[in-house]
Amino acid sequence: MNATNRNEQTALDRAVLEIDVNNHPGVMSHVVGLFSRRTYNVEGILCLPVDDGARSRIWLLLNEDQRLPQVIKQAEKLEDVIAVRRHAADHAVFSQLEAFFQA
């Protein structure tokens, strides 16, 4: 599994995941842990509660990688994950934030 760097260097594109989760301490660890334990970097994270606060929505910006389908399947197995939707890299959620991230 030393392929991480090669995988990430040859990443063709970026992907955006939209993940609906139960809102409680620990959910973020469960979700991002799936990536960190595969040495798969998460490029961007956004999370806010939705509706009455019982649920949250996590947005992740990722390098497209051959491991992504497996991580999505693993995310779908998490008890606190309600749904995972995959979007293309040009999704507005991160591009609209660019102004906050200028050096």
Partner: protein, 556 residues
């Protein structure tokens, strides 16, 4: 009727309602309220392990033989961290386990309090799910749900971390939740079953590849029926041993790193691989690109994340394997497959598993075969991890699902003795044999005293080569014979150790008639350690060198 109960009392009542009758654990400060409540239970027998890892593996032993979730208890901090190896082992082998740990009071969490550790955070990657309970009310939801999660779909361990003040919080309880049980699995799509049947019917050289999921699903008899109807030569993973009797005419035994040569060569020639509840582990496949390279693949697994993970299947069916096989069985045509059967027979003749000295009880294979001759199929066979484990996997005539307890995925030395104690506690009518090595047994040897205390019907067969045998073997074969840190310079007197820890012991080395001595020791009820020296130069053969294709085996 409304009762006022503490969180601890609610916890024990919920465990009783789940049908839990035996719990292994060790008390400590942060779980004392639960222990106080457990002490009042007339239904649950507590087994006091001597190390929390032992408690975790005892619970695993109970779960592995029964198929039902089993429970272990530990306190906060080191109690919890000591459990982690047994939990991780359960995760990799898909064993339903509910681990309950005490935690420091909520107000002290995050203060580096005495015996505080982030049990929740530590257990995330090694559990199927975990909980940090925030109130006594939550226990009424969390505990049944933990059992439901542990038992549903692909089974696995669930951890519940309960702060001490939640254990002591008293609330009124009017209604009890239903016990948590496995959710029914979604049925396989009929179109996929039809497609699978067509592929099997068209195949010239199919092989059925059974994994641990067949055992977990209770589907062993269905797998055997399918193999017989369609005449499918059948290989098993380490976890699936026993799902088809190894002496069944269609059984090719275990596949992979320490398979018989004919088994791996047959896989190399197959044109259809039917993987059932198996996950293409690297010890089974060898070099993945070369594994069954001519074959189409049907992969049936209850865990959708296993499908296409290692090998892309031509037909991937996400379903409970028992349910899928039930549908598949009538759709598959009877077929004698004469030419494939002849080819398999020829391979088996030309490249058999060599079992030298199988009649000599002072040899490694002979010892295993002699033990087997003392027992019938009702016995439970556990192992530790190492050379002895592979030799038992190769040589013991396993014939029954759940007969075989071994640490497959994590490969945990120290698994054997406590898991075997758990098995003996769960099924006291059976004889339990644990094959172990002198390296492995030292990793949980303290549990011999637990075996004595519980007077379990456990026979520990210690194969002693005064070394870490698999390390010794790899250093000999692949590291220029530079033996380092694999040979023990001082070895314990295991007979005295066993006797000192309160169990009977037999030194087979000193027995004039080892077969008779074995027979007598195995027949005598209660725990016993049987010590037998074996030759350190013996290797687990044949062997696929690390990274090689399965057809490239070395050794006898």
């Amino acid at each position: 009727m409304t009762e006022t109960l503490t969180g601890a009392q609610i916890t024990i009542r919920l465990l009783e309602r789940q049908g839990i009758r035996t719990i292994a654990g060790i008390p400590g400060g942060a779980i004392l309220p639960i222990y106080d409540a457990l002490g009042q239970s007339t239904l649950i027998h507590h087994v006091l392990a001597r190390h929390e890892q032992g408690a975790g593996f005892m619970a695993q032993g109970m779960a592995r033989v029964s198929g039902q979730p089993a429970v272990c208890l530990a306190s906060s901090g080191p109690g919890a961290t000591n459990l982690l190896t047994a939990i991780a082992d359960a995760k990799l082998d898909s064993i339903p386990l509910v681990a309950i740990t005490g935690q420091v009071p909520r107000a002290m969490i995050g203060t580096d309090a005495f015996q505080e550790v982030d049990t929740y955070g530590l257990s995330i990657p090694i559990t199927k799910h975990n909980f940090l309970v925030n109130s006594a009310e939550e226990l009424l939801e969390v505990i049944p749900r933990a059992f439901e999660i542990a038992a549903s779909g692909r089974p696995g361990p669930v951890l519940i971390d309960i702060p001490k003040d939640v254990q002591t919080q008293a609330i009124e309880v009017a209604d009890w939740p239903a016990p948590g049980t496995a959710r029914p699995a979604a049925p396989a799509a009929p179109t996929q079953i039809a497609e699978a049947a067509a592929m099997i019917n068209e195949a010239q050289r199919p092989i059925l590849y059974l994994g641990g999921g067949v055992v977990h699903s209770g589907a062993s008899h269905l797998a055997v029926d399918l193999a017989e109807k369609a005449h499918l030569p059948t290989v098993m993973t380490l976890m699936a041993l026993g799902s088809m009797p190894v002496d069944h005419p269609l059984s090719l035994g275990m596949l992979g790193m320490h398979a018989a040569r004919y088994t791996n060569l047959a896989l190399d020639e197959c044109d259809l691989l039917i993987a059932v509840g198996a996950r293409f582990d690297d010890r089974a496949t060898g070099k993945v690109a070369a594994f069954c390279s001519q074959a189409k693949i049907i992969h049936i697994d209850i865990d959708p994340a296993e499908l296409d993970k290692i090998k892309t299947a031509n037909l991937a069916i996400g379903a409970d394997v028992g349910e899928a096989l039930t549908q598949l069985l009538p759709a598959v045509a009877e077929n004698t497959r004469k030419s494939w059967g002849d080819r398999i027979a020829a391979l088996r003749m030309e490249f058999p598993l060599h079992m030298p000295e199988a009649a000599n009880p002072r040899s490694h294979f002979g010892l295993i075969r002699t033990v087997a001759a003392c027992l019938d199929d009702s016995a439970i066979i556990a192992t530790d991890v190492g050379q002895h484990q592979m030799w038992v996997a190769q040589a013991y005539p396993l014939r029954r699902p759940r007969q075989w307890l071994t640490s497959g995925g994590l490969g945990t030395m120290g698994f054997g003795v406590p898991a075997a104690i758990g098995a003996a506690l769960a099924e006291p009518q059976r004889t339990v044999v644990c094959f172990t090595g002198d390296g492995s047994i030292m990793m949980n040897i303290q549990e011999l005293v637990t075996a004595a205390e519980e007077n379990v019907n456990l026979k520990i067969v210690l194969m002693d080569n005064a070394s870490l045998g698999l390390v010794h073997q790899q250093q000999t074969l692949f590291y220029g014979e530079r033996l380092f840190a694999s040979q023990f310079k001082v070895t314990p007197d295991f007979i005295k150790v066993a006797q000192g820890l309160g169990i009977a012991a037999l030194d087979l080395d000193l027995a004039a008639d080892p077969a008779a001595a074995l027979q007598e020791a195995i027949a005598r009820p209660g725990p016993c350690l049987i010590h037998a020296s074996i030759d350190v130069e013996q290797k687990v053969y044949p062997m696929v060198p690390p990274g090689a294709a399965n057809r490239e085996m070395i050794g006898a």
